[in-house]
């Protein structure tokens, strides 16, 4: 048993899991507020990555301008999606909204291939490139800094939603829509807000994921793992998304390190099936009580 290798693989996995946690947070935000399972989360990530690519590499904007521009543009995209596709389905069964996001994913992939072609592309480097060593373990610098950025964003989001009025409104809407209405919260606005914030968070993780592994139209596969993360954590639990993100990252790292890359997705899905059999609502999800 090579403990050093185990440590290195686990650490890389957990750091990669930070990105899952961030994307999972984007997912949970929408689910909590609007009860929509966003199957297109991976494609929204991809959209963010490509917007950044356009601003930074094609229009040659400086990074401090390109990143916020990409994130803002993604926010606009989120607002458009909410207005055109999710709003008309209010009151329909949750399955309808779920399927609409499947359609959305397909549209986004098609648009990306149409505009930027299906080839893989590299994002401009913006992270330090010096290798990181923790104890004996070597870490790829991009993975490390990606995890750091993800952690900073997660912390920021948690703080913002603890203290900012909009965040409080969002949490209120999530826990009881009718009551939130009654105390004067503009619930439809909160719905839009949640999509905008989610799209922005997805864009941030898309930019990080893209700068680690490059961007391509098949990046949406990342979204499948994110989906596993939020289901394992429990769809409506922020804490669940964070814990499950790290857990799935770890499992994926171990599977990739010891069994080979093709086992990564298989391992995550086996974790998913296993956890759901034991806890049908995920690790921290709300157990819904059903009555006739």
């Amino acid at each position: 048993m090579d403990w050093g290798y185990l440590f290195e693989v686990s650490l890389t996995g957990v750091m990669g899991g930070g990105l899952y946690a961030l994307a999972g947070l984007a997912f949970v935000m929408v689910y909590k507020a609007t009860r929509v399972v966003n199957l297109a989360i991976g494609e929204m990530l991809m959209a963010g990555g490509y917007l950044f690519f356009t601003f930074a590499a094609m229009w040659a904007l400086p990074l401090w301008l390109a990143i916020p521009a990409a994130v803002l543009a993604s926010g606009v995209l989120g607002a458009v999606i909410e207005q055109c596709m999710i709003r008309p389905l209010l009151g329909e069964p949750p399955i309808s909204a779920f399927m609409v996001t499947i359609g959305l994913g397909s549209v986004l992939v098609g648009l990306v291939e149409m505009i930027w072609s299906a080839d893989q592309r590299r994002l401009p480097d913006f992270m330090p490139t010096q290798a990181i060593t923790i104890g004996e373990a070597f870490l790829a610098p991009k993975v490390f800094w990606g995890a750091v950025i993800a952690a900073v964003f997660i912390a920021a989001v948690l703080l913002v939603f603890r203290y900012w009025r909009g965040g409080v409104a969002l949490r209120a809407t999530a826990s009881d829509q009718a009551a939130a209405y009654a105390v004067g919260i503009n619930v439809p606005r909160v719905f839009s807000l949640s999509w905008v914030v989610s799209a922005m968070l997805a864009a941030v993780s898309g930019i990080i994921v893209g700068s680690i592994g490059g961007i391509s139209s098949s990046m949406g596969v990342f979204g499948l793992t994110v989906l596993v993360v939020v289901i394992v954590g429990g769809l409506d639990s922020v804490l669940g998304a964070l814990v499950a993100g790290l857990l799935v990252g770890l499992v994926e790292g171990l599977a990739g390190g010891y069994l080979g890359g093709e086992y990564k997705l298989l391992a995550t899905f086996i974790v998913l099936v296993f956890i759901l059999m034991v806890r049908p609502y995920g690790l921290f999800g709300t157990h819904e009580i059903e009555r006739l």
């Binding site: 329909e92 399955i95 399927m99 359609g103 992939v109 291939e113 299906a118 769809l235 086996i270 609502y281």
Partner: protein, 345 residues
């Protein structure tokens, strides 16, 4: 002109086809299906076979998702199971076609029952994601076992019936279309039986159904099993049709395709399965036709695949937002219009 139907007994009310008009149309439809291969060229026959295979699989998914309300994104996995079963049986033991197809259905059915086991504990969207897992696990198994030929897959000989090789679309048509028609009748009939009605009860409110004495786990598993049986047979036909199967033949996007087909066609309607699968199979071909007609079409072919993706996604979105009941409902509205004409409906 039919303006109404008079039913004098419960049997008449529950009949599969309740009026003379329907019988006439059915006869016309059957005649059209029989005449079609003699009039159409190879391209249209190829397309007809493809549509028939997709119709069979969609009809299966509609039993599960449309009638029982269990959303599944694993249909491609079950089709894959069926296709590999047929291929392996043919290549290893050279068993006859009918047996292979039946075995394909049964193997897929067993797979479906295994995937369906979580369905009692896990519901709705959680279940949909579990079925995605089925697709990936199946893909992994296909790609990593020796007897499935690994990533290169398997190539088959043409199917052989009474000493004739089914190696052209014309010949395959006579295998694929009758099997599909048979399965469609089976699906339509299912909902006149206790089992089918139990499925509908589960869809409408599963707890009420349980209170009414429907064993939830049993019927949910049955629904998964039946649906995968359809997928398996469709997968078997798929194997005979393309004769080369690889793990990549059954991607997640294929499962999404079938889900889209029943959304666009109409959930919980046999007619919907037919219309939806036919429509979704034809749209890409239509797009190709349009691209060929456009000036400078050669330069545009790189855009064909992405445009298909966009149109595919838009179809799902537009139908869900504007016509959630799908093409079947549009058809019903048209029919009602003619029944009631000249009165407003």
């Amino acid at each position: 002109m039919r303006i109404g139907t008079l039913k004098e007994s419960y049997v008449a009310d529950a009949a599969l086809f309740d009026s003379r008009t329907q019988h006439v149309w059915l006869a016309i439809g059957a005649a059209a299906l029989c005449l079609f291969p003699f009039l159409a060229n190879d391209y249209w026959l190829y397309l007809a076979c493809l549509v028939a295979i997709n119709v069979a699989s969609s009809a299966g998914l509609n039993i599960l998702t449309g009638y029982t309300g269990l959303v599944s994104l694993g249909q491609a996995a079950f089709m894959g199971l069926g296709a590999y079963t047929v291929a392996i049986l043919q290549l290893r033991w050279g068993t006859p076609l009918a047996l292979n197809l039946l075995a394909a259905g049964v193997v897929a059915m067993l797979g479906g029952i295994v995937v369906g086991v979580p369905s009692l504990r896990v519901k709705g969207l959680y279940l949909a994601i579990v079925t995605i897992a089925a697709t990936f696990i199946a893909h992994f198994l296909f790609a990593n076992f020796d007897f499935t030929g690994g990533t290169t897959g398997l190539s088959m000989r043409p199917a052989r019936v009474f000493g004739t090789d089914l190696d052209t679309s014309f010949r395959l048509y006579w295998l694929i279309v009758p099997v599909t028609v048979l399965m469609l009748f089976g699906a339509a009939n299912l909902f006149r039986t206790r089992i089918g009605r139990a499925f509908i009860a589960i869809r409408d409110r599963d707890i009420s159904a349980e209170v009414l004495g429907i064993a939830l786990l049993r019927y949910k598993l049955l629904s998964f099993g039946l649906s995968s049986f359809y997928a398996g047979v469709a997968g078997g036909l798929f194997a005979y049709f393309f004769r080369v199967i690889t793990p990549e033949s059954f991607p997640l996007s294929m499962s999404i395709f079938f889900l889209a087909a029943i959304i666009v066609g109409g959930m919980g309607s046999t007619l919907g399965s037919i219309l939806g699968a036919a429509f979704m199979t034809m749209v890409p071909e239509l797009l190709k036709l349009i691209f060929d007609l456009l000036p400078g079409g050669a330069d545009l072919t790189v855009f064909l695949a992405p445009v298909r993706l966009v149109i595919f996604g838009l179809l799902i979105i537009v139908f869900l937002v504007f016509e959630p009941l799908g093409l079947a409902e549009m058809w019903r509205r048209t029919r009602r219009f003619f029944h009631l004409w000249p009165f407003r409906n």
